[in-house]
Amino acid sequence: MSASIALPAAATLARPRARRRAGNLLPWLLLSPLLLLLAAFTYWPLLHTIYLSVVDVRLFQPDRFVGLDNFTGLFRSPSFAAASWNTVIYIALSLPLKVLLPIPIAVFVWCAGARMASLHRSILFVPTLLSFVVVSIVWIWMLNPVMGMVQSGLRPLGLQMPALLSDAATAIHAIIGISAWKVIGFNALLYLAGLASIPRELIESMRLDGASDWRITRSLLLPLLSPTIYFVAITSVLFTVQQVFTPINIMTGGGPSNATTNLFYLAYEMAFESFNIGFASATALLLFVGLGALAALKAWLLGRRVHYA
Protein backbone atom coordinates (compact mmCIF):
# COMPACT_ATOMS: atom_id res chain seq x y z
CA MET A 1 0.00 0.00 0.00
CA SER A 2 2.78 2.44 0.83
CA ALA A 3 4.32 2.15 -2.59
CA SER A 4 1.18 3.34 -4.23
CA ILE A 5 0.97 6.58 -2.31
CA ALA A 6 3.90 8.25 -3.94
CA LEU A 7 3.01 7.13 -7.44
CA PRO A 8 -0.40 8.78 -7.79
CA ALA A 9 0.87 12.06 -6.42
CA ALA A 10 3.58 12.17 -9.02
CA ALA A 11 1.23 11.00 -11.71
CA THR A 12 -1.28 13.76 -10.96
CA LEU A 13 1.28 16.42 -11.43
CA ALA A 14 2.61 14.86 -14.58
CA ARG A 15 -0.67 14.01 -16.30
CA PRO A 16 -3.79 16.01 -15.43
CA ARG A 17 -6.16 13.24 -16.44
CA ALA A 18 -4.31 10.52 -14.60
CA ARG A 19 -6.32 7.69 -13.22
CA ARG A 20 -5.19 5.14 -10.79
CA ARG A 21 -3.35 2.35 -12.50
CA ALA A 22 -4.75 -0.78 -11.10
CA GLY A 23 -2.41 -3.66 -11.22
CA ASN A 24 -4.47 -4.85 -8.30
CA LEU A 25 -7.78 -6.54 -8.14
CA LEU A 26 -9.79 -3.72 -6.66
CA PRO A 27 -11.72 -2.61 -9.77
CA TRP A 28 -12.58 -6.21 -10.51
CA LEU A 29 -13.79 -6.72 -6.99
CA LEU A 30 -15.93 -3.63 -7.25
CA LEU A 31 -17.35 -4.74 -10.55
CA SER A 32 -17.92 -8.34 -9.70
CA PRO A 33 -21.47 -8.09 -8.31
CA LEU A 34 -22.63 -6.16 -11.35
CA LEU A 35 -20.89 -8.45 -13.78
CA LEU A 36 -22.17 -11.57 -12.09
CA LEU A 37 -25.71 -10.30 -12.14
CA LEU A 38 -25.51 -9.19 -15.74
CA ALA A 39 -24.01 -12.50 -16.75
CA ALA A 40 -26.61 -14.51 -14.86
CA PHE A 41 -29.73 -12.52 -15.58
CA THR A 42 -29.10 -10.75 -18.85
CA TYR A 43 -26.51 -12.42 -21.00
CA TRP A 44 -27.02 -16.04 -20.05
CA PRO A 45 -30.79 -15.76 -20.64
CA LEU A 46 -30.05 -14.19 -24.01
CA LEU A 47 -28.03 -17.23 -25.03
CA HIS A 48 -30.53 -19.57 -23.46
CA THR A 49 -33.38 -18.01 -25.44
CA ILE A 50 -31.49 -18.71 -28.63
CA TYR A 51 -31.03 -22.30 -27.49
CA LEU A 52 -34.68 -22.71 -26.53
CA SER A 53 -35.80 -21.47 -29.90
CA VAL A 54 -34.18 -24.37 -31.70
CA VAL A 55 -35.09 -27.21 -29.37
CA ASP A 56 -38.23 -28.95 -28.21
CA VAL A 57 -38.40 -29.00 -24.42
CA ARG A 58 -39.97 -32.16 -23.09
CA LEU A 59 -40.88 -33.36 -19.66
CA PHE A 60 -38.77 -36.16 -18.18
CA GLN A 61 -36.76 -36.41 -21.39
CA PRO A 62 -33.79 -34.53 -22.74
CA ASP A 63 -34.38 -31.62 -25.07
CA ARG A 64 -34.58 -32.49 -28.72
CA PHE A 65 -32.95 -30.35 -31.40
CA VAL A 66 -35.49 -29.33 -34.03
CA GLY A 67 -33.67 -26.74 -36.07
CA LEU A 68 -35.98 -24.14 -37.52
CA ASP A 69 -39.21 -26.08 -36.86
CA ASN A 70 -40.27 -23.69 -34.13
CA PHE A 71 -39.89 -20.79 -36.50
CA THR A 72 -41.79 -22.39 -39.37
CA GLY A 73 -44.54 -23.52 -36.98
CA LEU A 74 -44.71 -19.99 -35.66
CA PHE A 75 -44.99 -18.48 -39.13
CA ARG A 76 -47.96 -20.75 -39.84
CA SER A 77 -49.79 -19.54 -36.77
CA PRO A 78 -52.36 -16.84 -37.59
CA SER A 79 -51.58 -14.96 -34.41
CA PHE A 80 -48.01 -14.41 -35.58
CA ALA A 81 -49.04 -12.53 -38.70
CA ALA A 82 -51.35 -10.29 -36.72
CA ALA A 83 -48.75 -9.74 -34.01
CA SER A 84 -46.05 -8.80 -36.50
CA TRP A 85 -48.23 -6.37 -38.36
CA ASN A 86 -49.42 -4.79 -35.12
CA THR A 87 -45.85 -4.41 -33.92
CA VAL A 88 -45.13 -2.27 -36.95
CA ILE A 89 -48.25 -0.22 -36.30
CA TYR A 90 -47.46 0.30 -32.66
CA ILE A 91 -44.02 1.62 -33.48
CA ALA A 92 -44.97 3.65 -36.54
CA LEU A 93 -47.89 5.41 -34.89
CA SER A 94 -46.24 5.86 -31.54
CA LEU A 95 -43.18 7.60 -32.88
CA PRO A 96 -44.81 10.85 -33.94
CA LEU A 97 -46.75 10.98 -30.68
CA LYS A 98 -43.85 10.15 -28.42
CA VAL A 99 -40.99 11.82 -30.26
CA LEU A 100 -42.40 14.79 -32.14
CA LEU A 101 -45.39 15.95 -30.15
CA PRO A 102 -43.40 16.58 -26.96
CA ILE A 103 -41.15 19.05 -28.82
CA PRO A 104 -43.67 21.88 -29.17
CA ILE A 105 -44.91 21.14 -25.68
CA ALA A 106 -41.41 21.53 -24.31
CA VAL A 107 -40.87 24.73 -26.26
CA PHE A 108 -44.13 26.21 -25.03
CA VAL A 109 -43.33 25.36 -21.43
CA TRP A 110 -39.87 26.81 -21.83
CA CYS A 111 -41.35 30.05 -23.10
CA ALA A 112 -43.98 30.33 -20.42
CA GLY A 113 -43.46 32.50 -17.37
CA ALA A 114 -41.52 31.01 -14.45
CA ARG A 115 -44.47 30.12 -12.26
CA MET A 116 -46.48 28.62 -15.08
CA ALA A 117 -43.46 26.67 -16.26
CA SER A 118 -42.97 25.17 -12.84
CA LEU A 119 -46.60 24.15 -12.62
CA HIS A 120 -46.55 22.63 -16.07
CA ARG A 121 -43.39 20.72 -15.33
CA SER A 122 -45.01 19.12 -12.32
CA ILE A 123 -48.18 18.26 -14.17
CA LEU A 124 -46.25 16.79 -17.06
CA PHE A 125 -44.32 14.54 -14.71
CA VAL A 126 -47.39 13.08 -13.01
CA PRO A 127 -48.17 10.33 -15.55
CA THR A 128 -44.60 9.11 -15.13
CA LEU A 129 -45.23 8.64 -11.42
CA LEU A 130 -48.33 6.58 -11.99
CA SER A 131 -47.91 2.94 -12.78
CA PHE A 132 -49.17 1.63 -16.08
CA VAL A 133 -51.55 -0.60 -14.13
CA VAL A 134 -53.15 2.44 -12.59
CA VAL A 135 -53.23 4.22 -15.94
CA SER A 136 -54.91 1.22 -17.57
CA ILE A 137 -57.53 0.98 -14.85
CA VAL A 138 -58.25 4.68 -15.07
CA TRP A 139 -58.66 4.59 -18.84
CA ILE A 140 -60.79 1.43 -18.84
CA TRP A 141 -63.15 3.25 -16.62
CA MET A 142 -62.95 6.47 -18.63
CA LEU A 143 -63.64 4.71 -21.92
CA ASN A 144 -66.36 2.29 -20.85
CA PRO A 145 -69.17 3.02 -23.32
CA VAL A 146 -71.96 2.29 -20.86
CA MET A 147 -70.84 3.52 -17.48
CA GLY A 148 -67.57 5.32 -18.09
CA MET A 149 -66.75 8.92 -17.31
CA VAL A 150 -66.65 10.07 -20.91
CA GLN A 151 -70.01 8.51 -21.62
CA SER A 152 -71.43 10.09 -18.47
CA GLY A 153 -70.42 13.42 -19.90
CA LEU A 154 -71.87 12.65 -23.33
CA ARG A 155 -75.14 11.14 -22.20
CA PRO A 156 -76.81 14.45 -21.28
CA LEU A 157 -75.98 15.64 -24.79
CA GLY A 158 -77.70 12.60 -26.22
CA LEU A 159 -74.51 11.15 -27.64
CA GLN A 160 -73.21 7.59 -27.38
CA MET A 161 -69.52 7.01 -27.49
CA PRO A 162 -68.17 4.04 -29.45
CA ALA A 163 -66.77 1.01 -27.63
CA LEU A 164 -63.18 1.88 -28.43
CA LEU A 165 -61.55 -1.03 -26.65
CA SER A 166 -63.92 -3.75 -27.84
CA ASP A 167 -63.86 -2.85 -31.49
CA ALA A 168 -61.10 -4.48 -33.54
CA ALA A 169 -60.71 -1.38 -35.68
CA THR A 170 -60.10 1.10 -32.88
CA ALA A 171 -58.66 -0.89 -29.99
CA ILE A 172 -55.03 -0.65 -31.03
CA HIS A 173 -55.32 3.08 -31.54
CA ALA A 174 -56.85 3.51 -28.14
CA ILE A 175 -53.92 1.71 -26.58
CA ILE A 176 -51.40 3.69 -28.62
CA GLY A 177 -53.08 6.87 -27.45
CA ILE A 178 -53.08 5.79 -23.83
CA SER A 179 -49.44 4.79 -23.88
CA ALA A 180 -48.56 8.08 -25.51
CA TRP A 181 -50.53 9.90 -22.81
CA LYS A 182 -48.34 8.24 -20.23
CA VAL A 183 -45.05 9.02 -21.89
CA ILE A 184 -45.39 12.41 -23.59
CA GLY A 185 -44.89 14.36 -20.39
CA PHE A 186 -41.63 12.63 -19.57
CA ASN A 187 -40.23 13.12 -23.05
CA ALA A 188 -41.23 16.77 -22.99
CA LEU A 189 -39.27 17.15 -19.76
CA LEU A 190 -36.26 15.54 -21.38
CA TYR A 191 -36.47 18.06 -24.19
CA LEU A 192 -36.93 20.83 -21.68
CA ALA A 193 -33.71 19.81 -20.00
CA GLY A 194 -32.03 20.08 -23.36
CA LEU A 195 -33.47 23.53 -23.99
CA ALA A 196 -32.38 24.77 -20.59
CA SER A 197 -28.78 24.94 -21.66
CA ILE A 198 -29.30 27.32 -24.57
CA PRO A 199 -27.74 30.70 -23.84
CA ARG A 200 -30.08 33.66 -23.85
CA GLU A 201 -27.65 35.83 -25.76
CA LEU A 202 -27.91 33.60 -28.76
CA ILE A 203 -31.65 34.00 -28.88
CA GLU A 204 -31.50 37.71 -28.28
CA SER A 205 -29.06 38.22 -31.08
CA MET A 206 -31.26 36.23 -33.43
CA ARG A 207 -34.22 38.36 -32.40
CA LEU A 208 -32.26 41.49 -33.12
CA ASP A 209 -31.61 40.10 -36.57
CA GLY A 210 -35.35 39.95 -37.02
CA ALA A 211 -35.71 36.20 -36.83
CA SER A 212 -39.26 34.89 -36.53
CA ASP A 213 -40.26 32.28 -33.97
CA TRP A 214 -40.24 29.62 -36.58
CA ARG A 215 -36.78 30.56 -37.78
CA ILE A 216 -35.38 30.41 -34.29
CA THR A 217 -36.97 27.06 -33.74
CA ARG A 218 -35.77 25.58 -36.95
CA SER A 219 -32.21 26.81 -36.97
CA LEU A 220 -31.42 26.92 -33.31
CA LEU A 221 -33.70 24.87 -31.08
CA LEU A 222 -34.11 21.80 -33.19
CA PRO A 223 -30.45 21.29 -33.99
CA LEU A 224 -29.53 21.76 -30.34
CA LEU A 225 -32.22 19.32 -29.31
CA SER A 226 -31.25 16.77 -31.89
CA PRO A 227 -29.19 14.53 -29.62
CA THR A 228 -32.11 14.26 -27.21
CA ILE A 229 -34.55 13.68 -30.04
CA TYR A 230 -32.28 10.97 -31.28
CA PHE A 231 -32.15 9.33 -27.89
CA VAL A 232 -35.93 9.49 -27.46
CA ALA A 233 -36.50 8.08 -30.94
CA ILE A 234 -34.22 5.11 -30.44
CA THR A 235 -35.60 4.26 -27.03
CA SER A 236 -39.15 4.63 -28.28
CA VAL A 237 -38.49 2.14 -31.03
CA LEU A 238 -36.90 -0.30 -28.63
CA PHE A 239 -39.31 -0.01 -25.74
CA THR A 240 -42.76 0.89 -27.07
CA VAL A 241 -43.68 -2.70 -27.72
CA GLN A 242 -42.67 -3.64 -24.22
CA GLN A 243 -44.36 -0.64 -22.62
CA VAL A 244 -47.76 -1.48 -24.05
CA PHE A 245 -47.67 -4.92 -22.45
CA THR A 246 -49.46 -3.74 -19.36
CA PRO A 247 -52.36 -1.96 -21.08
CA ILE A 248 -52.80 -4.88 -23.44
CA ASN A 249 -52.78 -7.40 -20.62
CA ILE A 250 -55.24 -5.45 -18.52
CA MET A 251 -57.49 -3.91 -21.14
CA THR A 252 -57.81 -6.29 -24.07
CA GLY A 253 -55.75 -9.45 -23.59
CA GLY A 254 -54.43 -9.08 -27.12
CA GLY A 255 -57.86 -8.98 -28.68
CA PRO A 256 -60.46 -8.50 -29.85
CA SER A 257 -59.53 -11.07 -32.43
CA ASN A 258 -55.78 -10.36 -32.20
CA ALA A 259 -56.31 -6.67 -32.88
CA THR A 260 -54.01 -5.45 -30.14
CA THR A 261 -51.46 -8.19 -29.71
CA ASN A 262 -47.82 -7.66 -30.69
CA LEU A 263 -44.72 -9.82 -30.81
CA PHE A 264 -43.77 -9.17 -27.21
CA TYR A 265 -47.28 -9.98 -26.00
CA LEU A 266 -47.35 -13.04 -28.18
CA ALA A 267 -44.09 -14.26 -26.69
CA TYR A 268 -45.58 -13.87 -23.22
CA GLU A 269 -48.77 -15.68 -24.21
CA MET A 270 -46.89 -18.49 -25.89
CA ALA A 271 -44.76 -18.90 -22.77
CA PHE A 272 -47.29 -18.55 -19.98
CA GLU A 273 -50.63 -19.39 -21.52
CA SER A 274 -49.94 -21.89 -24.27
CA PHE A 275 -46.77 -23.06 -22.59
CA ASN A 276 -45.05 -23.48 -25.88
CA ILE A 277 -41.50 -22.64 -24.89
CA GLY A 278 -40.05 -23.18 -28.34
CA PHE A 279 -42.49 -20.81 -30.03
CA ALA A 280 -42.14 -18.24 -27.26
CA SER A 281 -38.37 -18.18 -27.61
CA ALA A 282 -38.56 -18.03 -31.37
CA THR A 283 -40.95 -15.07 -31.13
CA ALA A 284 -38.68 -13.34 -28.65
CA LEU A 285 -35.70 -13.78 -30.90
CA LEU A 286 -37.51 -12.50 -33.97
CA LEU A 287 -38.69 -9.48 -32.05
CA PHE A 288 -35.17 -8.73 -30.91
CA VAL A 289 -33.77 -9.00 -34.40
CA GLY A 290 -36.57 -6.87 -35.79
CA LEU A 291 -36.19 -4.15 -33.17
CA GLY A 292 -32.44 -4.21 -33.50
CA ALA A 293 -32.69 -3.74 -37.23
CA LEU A 294 -35.23 -0.97 -36.85
CA ALA A 295 -33.15 0.82 -34.24
CA ALA A 296 -30.04 0.51 -36.35
CA LEU A 297 -31.90 1.90 -39.34
CA LYS A 298 -33.17 4.78 -37.33
CA ALA A 299 -29.73 5.43 -35.89
CA TRP A 300 -28.27 5.54 -39.34
CA LEU A 301 -31.00 7.82 -40.73
CA LEU A 302 -30.97 10.23 -37.84
CA GLY A 303 -27.34 9.97 -36.95
CA ARG A 304 -26.32 12.05 -39.86
CA ARG A 305 -28.57 14.87 -38.75
CA VAL A 306 -27.56 15.05 -35.13
CA HIS A 307 -25.46 18.01 -34.10
CA TYR A 308 -23.39 17.71 -31.01
CA ALA A 309 -22.73 21.05 -29.35
Binding site: R19, P33, F41, P45, F132, V134, P227
Partner: protein, 279 residues
Protein backbone atom coordinates in the same frame (compact mmCIF):
# COMPACT_ATOMS: atom_id res chain seq x y z
CA UNK B 1 -34.17 27.55 -14.75
CA UNK B 2 -34.18 31.22 -15.49
CA UNK B 3 -36.52 33.65 -13.85
CA UNK B 4 -37.79 35.20 -17.01
CA UNK B 5 -38.83 33.34 -20.11
CA UNK B 6 -35.87 33.02 -22.42
CA UNK B 7 -37.92 33.37 -25.51
CA UNK B 8 -41.03 35.42 -25.82
CA UNK B 9 -43.25 34.12 -28.54
CA UNK B 10 -44.97 36.38 -30.99
CA UNK B 11 -48.75 36.58 -30.63
CA UNK B 12 -50.19 33.76 -32.71
CA UNK B 13 -47.69 31.33 -31.28
CA UNK B 14 -48.15 32.51 -27.76
CA UNK B 15 -51.89 31.92 -27.89
CA UNK B 16 -51.41 28.56 -29.53
CA UNK B 17 -48.85 27.68 -26.89
CA UNK B 18 -51.22 28.54 -24.11
CA UNK B 19 -54.00 26.49 -25.63
CA UNK B 20 -51.76 23.49 -26.20
CA UNK B 21 -50.47 23.57 -22.64
CA UNK B 22 -53.94 24.07 -21.26
CA UNK B 23 -55.30 21.09 -23.16
CA UNK B 24 -52.34 18.93 -22.21
CA UNK B 25 -52.64 19.81 -18.55
CA UNK B 26 -56.37 19.23 -18.57
CA UNK B 27 -55.99 15.84 -20.20
CA UNK B 28 -53.70 14.82 -17.38
CA UNK B 29 -55.40 16.47 -14.45
CA UNK B 30 -59.07 15.81 -15.19
CA UNK B 31 -58.99 11.99 -15.28
CA UNK B 32 -57.01 11.94 -12.05
CA UNK B 33 -59.34 14.33 -10.29
CA UNK B 34 -62.24 12.16 -11.39
CA UNK B 35 -60.53 9.15 -9.90
CA UNK B 36 -60.09 10.87 -6.57
CA UNK B 37 -63.65 12.18 -6.69
CA UNK B 38 -65.05 8.72 -7.37
CA UNK B 39 -63.00 7.23 -4.60
CA UNK B 40 -64.79 9.54 -2.19
CA UNK B 41 -68.30 8.73 -3.38
CA UNK B 42 -70.59 6.58 -1.26
CA UNK B 43 -71.89 3.46 -3.06
CA UNK B 44 -75.24 4.99 -3.99
CA UNK B 45 -73.65 7.80 -5.90
CA UNK B 46 -71.16 5.72 -7.87
CA UNK B 47 -73.17 5.42 -11.05
CA UNK B 48 -75.04 8.62 -10.45
CA UNK B 49 -74.96 11.87 -12.31
CA UNK B 50 -72.43 14.31 -10.96
CA UNK B 51 -68.71 13.69 -11.29
CA UNK B 52 -68.05 14.88 -7.75
CA UNK B 53 -69.51 13.39 -4.59
CA UNK B 54 -72.48 15.10 -2.96
CA UNK B 55 -71.66 13.59 0.39
CA UNK B 56 -68.04 12.57 0.32
CA UNK B 57 -67.02 9.66 2.48
CA UNK B 58 -63.79 7.87 3.27
CA UNK B 59 -65.59 4.53 3.47
CA UNK B 60 -64.09 3.20 0.26
CA UNK B 61 -60.63 3.55 1.66
CA UNK B 62 -61.56 1.24 4.49
CA UNK B 63 -63.54 -1.13 2.29
CA UNK B 64 -60.69 -1.72 -0.12
CA UNK B 65 -58.70 -3.33 2.68
CA UNK B 66 -61.59 -5.71 3.26
CA UNK B 67 -61.95 -6.66 -0.36
CA UNK B 68 -58.30 -7.44 -1.02
CA UNK B 69 -55.33 -7.96 1.30
CA UNK B 70 -53.99 -4.56 0.36
CA UNK B 71 -51.94 -4.28 3.54
CA UNK B 72 -50.09 -7.46 2.67
CA UNK B 73 -49.50 -6.26 -0.88
CA UNK B 74 -48.14 -2.96 0.44
CA UNK B 75 -45.82 -4.82 2.75
CA UNK B 76 -44.53 -6.96 -0.11
CA UNK B 77 -44.03 -3.97 -2.36
CA UNK B 78 -42.37 -1.87 0.32
CA UNK B 79 -39.98 -4.58 1.45
CA UNK B 80 -38.97 -5.80 -1.98
CA UNK B 81 -38.59 -2.25 -3.29
CA UNK B 82 -36.47 -1.13 -0.37
CA UNK B 83 -34.22 -4.17 -0.57
CA UNK B 84 -33.96 -4.03 -4.32
CA UNK B 85 -33.25 -0.31 -4.62
CA UNK B 86 -30.76 -0.51 -1.78
CA UNK B 87 -28.97 -3.36 -3.49
CA UNK B 88 -29.07 -1.65 -6.86
CA UNK B 89 -27.52 1.51 -5.45
CA UNK B 90 -24.67 -0.25 -3.72
CA UNK B 91 -23.85 -2.39 -6.72
CA UNK B 92 -24.12 0.52 -9.14
CA UNK B 93 -21.98 2.74 -6.94
CA UNK B 94 -19.18 0.23 -6.75
CA UNK B 95 -19.32 -0.50 -10.45
CA UNK B 96 -19.47 3.16 -11.44
CA UNK B 97 -16.46 3.85 -9.28
CA UNK B 98 -14.58 1.02 -10.92
CA UNK B 99 -15.41 2.33 -14.38
CA UNK B 100 -14.70 5.95 -13.55
CA UNK B 101 -11.59 5.86 -11.45
CA UNK B 102 -9.59 2.96 -12.75
CA UNK B 103 -7.99 1.87 -15.92
CA UNK B 104 -7.80 -1.81 -16.56
CA UNK B 105 -7.85 -4.11 -19.47
CA UNK B 106 -11.29 -4.66 -20.90
CA UNK B 107 -12.81 -1.71 -19.07
CA UNK B 108 -14.39 -0.15 -22.11
CA UNK B 109 -15.71 -3.45 -23.39
CA UNK B 110 -17.31 -4.21 -20.06
CA UNK B 111 -18.83 -0.75 -19.92
CA UNK B 112 -20.27 -1.24 -23.37
CA UNK B 113 -21.73 -4.55 -22.26
CA UNK B 114 -23.29 -2.80 -19.29
CA UNK B 115 -24.89 -0.21 -21.52
CA UNK B 116 -25.94 -2.93 -23.92
CA UNK B 117 -27.77 -4.68 -21.10
CA UNK B 118 -29.75 -1.50 -20.58
CA UNK B 119 -30.97 -1.64 -24.15
CA UNK B 120 -31.90 -5.29 -24.24
CA UNK B 121 -35.65 -5.73 -24.26
CA UNK B 122 -37.28 -7.98 -21.68
CA UNK B 123 -38.61 -10.24 -24.38
CA UNK B 124 -35.27 -11.86 -24.83
CA UNK B 125 -34.54 -12.63 -21.25
CA UNK B 126 -37.75 -13.22 -19.35
CA UNK B 127 -38.36 -16.85 -20.20
CA UNK B 128 -34.97 -18.33 -19.28
CA UNK B 129 -34.84 -16.07 -16.22
CA UNK B 130 -38.23 -17.43 -15.17
CA UNK B 131 -37.03 -20.99 -15.65
CA UNK B 132 -33.86 -20.26 -13.71
CA UNK B 133 -35.73 -18.64 -10.84
CA UNK B 134 -38.13 -21.60 -10.74
CA UNK B 135 -35.27 -24.03 -10.67
CA UNK B 136 -33.65 -22.10 -7.82
CA UNK B 137 -36.86 -22.39 -5.86
CA UNK B 138 -37.33 -18.64 -5.80
CA UNK B 139 -40.58 -18.65 -7.73
CA UNK B 140 -43.29 -16.73 -5.89
CA UNK B 141 -40.87 -15.26 -3.36
CA UNK B 142 -39.24 -11.97 -2.59
CA UNK B 143 -35.94 -13.31 -3.90
CA UNK B 144 -37.48 -13.84 -7.28
CA UNK B 145 -38.63 -10.25 -7.33
CA UNK B 146 -35.38 -8.77 -6.10
CA UNK B 147 -32.38 -10.70 -7.34
CA UNK B 148 -32.80 -10.73 -11.14
CA UNK B 149 -33.14 -6.96 -11.13
CA UNK B 150 -30.28 -6.03 -8.84
CA UNK B 151 -28.14 -4.91 -11.74
CA UNK B 152 -29.17 -1.40 -12.72
CA UNK B 153 -27.14 -0.29 -15.74
CA UNK B 154 -28.87 3.08 -15.83
CA UNK B 155 -27.64 3.72 -12.31
CA UNK B 156 -24.12 2.72 -13.26
CA UNK B 157 -24.24 5.04 -16.24
CA UNK B 158 -25.53 8.08 -14.34
CA UNK B 159 -23.22 7.63 -11.36
CA UNK B 160 -20.24 7.21 -13.60
CA UNK B 161 -21.14 10.45 -15.38
CA UNK B 162 -21.21 12.22 -12.07
CA UNK B 163 -17.97 10.71 -10.94
CA UNK B 164 -16.21 11.67 -14.14
CA UNK B 165 -17.29 15.25 -13.59
CA UNK B 166 -16.00 15.23 -10.08
CA UNK B 167 -13.57 18.01 -9.20
CA UNK B 168 -10.10 16.59 -9.38
CA UNK B 169 -8.55 18.51 -6.55
CA UNK B 170 -10.70 16.81 -3.97
CA UNK B 171 -9.57 13.41 -5.08
CA UNK B 172 -5.98 14.40 -5.47
CA UNK B 173 -5.81 15.86 -2.02
CA UNK B 174 -7.24 12.62 -0.68
CA UNK B 175 -4.55 10.74 -2.53
CA UNK B 176 -1.84 12.92 -1.14
CA UNK B 177 -3.21 12.36 2.32
CA UNK B 178 -2.56 8.69 1.80
CA UNK B 179 -6.05 7.46 1.24
CA UNK B 180 -6.22 4.44 -1.01
CA UNK B 181 -8.92 4.15 -3.61
CA UNK B 182 -11.25 2.35 -1.26
CA UNK B 183 -11.12 5.02 1.38
CA UNK B 184 -11.33 7.71 -1.24
CA UNK B 185 -14.63 6.25 -2.22
CA UNK B 186 -16.00 6.31 1.29
CA UNK B 187 -14.60 9.54 2.54
CA UNK B 188 -14.56 11.73 -0.52
CA UNK B 189 -16.88 10.57 -3.24
CA UNK B 190 -19.74 9.16 -1.30
CA UNK B 191 -20.59 12.27 0.71
CA UNK B 192 -20.53 14.39 -2.40
CA UNK B 193 -22.44 12.14 -4.68
CA UNK B 194 -25.43 11.85 -2.41
CA UNK B 195 -27.69 14.19 -4.36
CA UNK B 196 -27.20 12.11 -7.47
CA UNK B 197 -27.67 8.90 -5.52
CA UNK B 198 -30.87 10.25 -4.05
CA UNK B 199 -32.21 11.15 -7.45
CA UNK B 200 -31.29 7.79 -8.91
CA UNK B 201 -32.78 6.07 -5.89
CA UNK B 202 -36.05 7.85 -6.52
CA UNK B 203 -36.12 6.81 -10.15
CA UNK B 204 -35.30 3.22 -9.27
CA UNK B 205 -37.95 3.29 -6.57
CA UNK B 206 -40.62 4.48 -8.96
CA UNK B 207 -39.56 1.91 -11.53
CA UNK B 208 -39.73 -0.90 -8.99
CA UNK B 209 -42.94 0.15 -7.27
CA UNK B 210 -44.73 0.49 -10.60
CA UNK B 211 -43.41 -2.67 -12.18
CA UNK B 212 -46.01 -5.07 -13.55
CA UNK B 213 -44.61 -7.54 -16.04
CA UNK B 214 -42.00 -9.26 -13.93
CA UNK B 215 -44.13 -9.61 -10.77
CA UNK B 216 -46.90 -10.97 -12.99
CA UNK B 217 -44.57 -13.68 -14.24
CA UNK B 218 -42.89 -14.55 -11.00
CA UNK B 219 -45.57 -14.37 -8.29
CA UNK B 220 -48.67 -16.47 -7.80
CA UNK B 221 -49.73 -16.18 -4.18
CA UNK B 222 -50.71 -13.30 -1.98
CA UNK B 223 -47.59 -13.67 0.07
CA UNK B 224 -45.41 -12.39 -2.72
CA UNK B 225 -47.70 -10.24 -4.83
CA UNK B 226 -47.01 -6.57 -5.11
CA UNK B 227 -49.56 -3.77 -5.02
CA UNK B 228 -49.70 -3.54 -8.81
CA UNK B 229 -50.63 -7.19 -9.18
CA UNK B 230 -53.01 -6.83 -6.26
CA UNK B 231 -54.89 -3.90 -7.71
CA UNK B 232 -55.11 -5.61 -11.07
CA UNK B 233 -56.65 -8.68 -9.46
CA UNK B 234 -59.10 -6.43 -7.74
CA UNK B 235 -60.10 -5.05 -11.12
CA UNK B 236 -60.84 -8.58 -12.32
CA UNK B 237 -62.82 -9.45 -9.24
CA UNK B 238 -64.68 -6.18 -9.12
CA UNK B 239 -68.35 -6.44 -9.82
CA UNK B 240 -69.45 -2.93 -10.59
CA UNK B 241 -70.49 -2.00 -7.11
CA UNK B 242 -66.88 -1.93 -5.96
CA UNK B 243 -65.88 0.90 -8.24
CA UNK B 244 -65.42 3.28 -5.33
CA UNK B 245 -63.17 0.84 -3.53
CA UNK B 246 -61.25 0.17 -6.74
CA UNK B 247 -60.60 3.88 -7.20
CA UNK B 248 -59.58 4.17 -3.57
CA UNK B 249 -57.14 1.34 -4.15
CA UNK B 250 -55.80 3.10 -7.23
CA UNK B 251 -55.19 6.27 -5.22
CA UNK B 252 -53.49 4.40 -2.38
CA UNK B 253 -51.24 2.49 -4.74
CA UNK B 254 -50.12 5.73 -6.38
CA UNK B 255 -49.49 7.68 -3.21
CA UNK B 256 -45.97 6.50 -2.37
CA UNK B 257 -44.53 7.52 -5.71
CA UNK B 258 -46.35 10.85 -5.57
CA UNK B 259 -45.15 11.52 -2.05
CA UNK B 260 -41.57 10.70 -2.91
CA UNK B 261 -41.76 12.98 -5.92
CA UNK B 262 -43.19 15.94 -4.09
CA UNK B 263 -40.49 15.63 -1.48
CA UNK B 264 -37.60 15.56 -3.86
CA UNK B 265 -39.07 17.46 -6.76
CA UNK B 266 -36.26 19.73 -7.65
CA UNK B 267 -33.55 17.19 -7.24
CA UNK B 268 -34.84 14.83 -9.88
CA UNK B 269 -35.04 17.46 -12.55
CA UNK B 270 -31.66 18.86 -11.63
CA UNK B 271 -29.98 15.52 -11.96
CA UNK B 272 -31.35 15.07 -15.42
CA UNK B 273 -30.03 18.42 -16.51
CA UNK B 274 -26.59 18.01 -15.03
CA UNK B 275 -26.15 14.43 -16.15
CA UNK B 276 -25.82 15.94 -19.53
CA UNK B 277 -28.45 14.21 -21.55
CA UNK B 278 -27.42 16.49 -24.30
CA UNK B 279 -25.20 13.66 -25.37
Amino acid sequence: MRNVAPLTLTPPWRAIGNIVLFVASLSIVVPLLLVVATSLKPPIEIHGGLPWPQSPTGGNYVEVFDKIPLGLYFWNSAATTALRVGGQLVIALLAAYAFARFEFRGRDVLFALTLGAMMLPHSLTFLPTYLMISWLGWFDSWWGLIVPNLAAPVGVFLLRQHMLAFPRDLLDSAAIDGAGPWRALWLVILPNIQPAMAAIAILLFIDCWNEYFWPLVITESEHAMTVQIGIRRFLDAERGDDLGALMAGVVLVSLPAMAVFLWFQRRILETFVSAGLKG
